[in-house]
Point group: C2
Chain length 144, copies 2
Amino acid sequence: MEQLNNVIFYTIDKSIRTYRQYAQRQLKNAGYSITIDQWLVIKTLLENPDIKQQELGEKIFKDNASVTRIIELLVRAKYLKRRNNTEDRRRTGLEVTEKGKETIADVHKIVLKNRSVALEGISKTELETVKKVLMKITKNCQDD
Amino acid sequence: MEQLNNVIFYTIDKSIRTYRQYAQRQLKNAGYSITIDQWLVIKTLLENPDIKQQELGEKIFKDNASVTRIIELLVRAKYLKRRNNTEDRRRTGLEVTEKGKETIADVHKIVLKNRSVALEGISKTELETVKKVLMKITKNCQDD
DNA sequence: AAAATATATTTGATATATCAAATATTGATA
DNA sequence: TATCAATATTTGATATATCAAATATATTTT
């Protein structure tokens, strides 16, 4: 087999999946049932209270449909509340509940810890190279 | 916002997603309805005819449940055929059909093209660094 | 103002991911 | 050999991804 490990895209895929799994497991171990993606949505809403769902999706690399469904679950779990947007009735206002705010703060600590564990032993220069190369890949795939 | 772009994990995530979308779009444009993952499963089966589903999953970074379901779709679409494994009846033998074989060959060319487009302008040294760093991240998240 | 166009979000259909539990079978052991 | 443990796969439940189509509302054009 043309070794999968020699194909950079599988290395990329594997690393992000492994990180996700690790991060999710840490959350679970700490007693949270929220997913990383859900956390990210709440956090982004807190920091951008009047953001459109569309813009939210762009920020966190999710399409509209995914955003709609993630929000639905967050409302159901009482992390968010819907309110009406009087200025543009196509939009739904979204308010982070107290429960949501508390959760974000607690989870943030865990996320920071996760990141530092995952990046242990990697130099700043190396990270810069990785970032530069990955952004180039992204660009190459967008232009075409 | 603690800029998401400054968090390496979002850069990783974005790059692999953008690549996937690009690759999938190229397949579609060429008239194939198969997904990259499905293609990968067939290819791996061709190259490892007697592999267990479990091992298959490990090779392509998917869990058993996903493998089962992907195979189900492939059988339905007539890329694969089930046959009995007389030696161990817990296992299902899997045979790639003619249709499967043809598709793999054609799609392989497109995949190679995709990869080279995505990696345009990136040096070998850079790729080595990226690979090394990503493997380190994977390891960091597995040990814990 | 009516019609056409643009924007924001939702919905439907299908594929995949993930975990835990269920099944089926095999192998080991008391 | 009956029982128990291990292995291989499937199934159920839920979350997310993706594309296309549908809705609802707003804005622009004629």
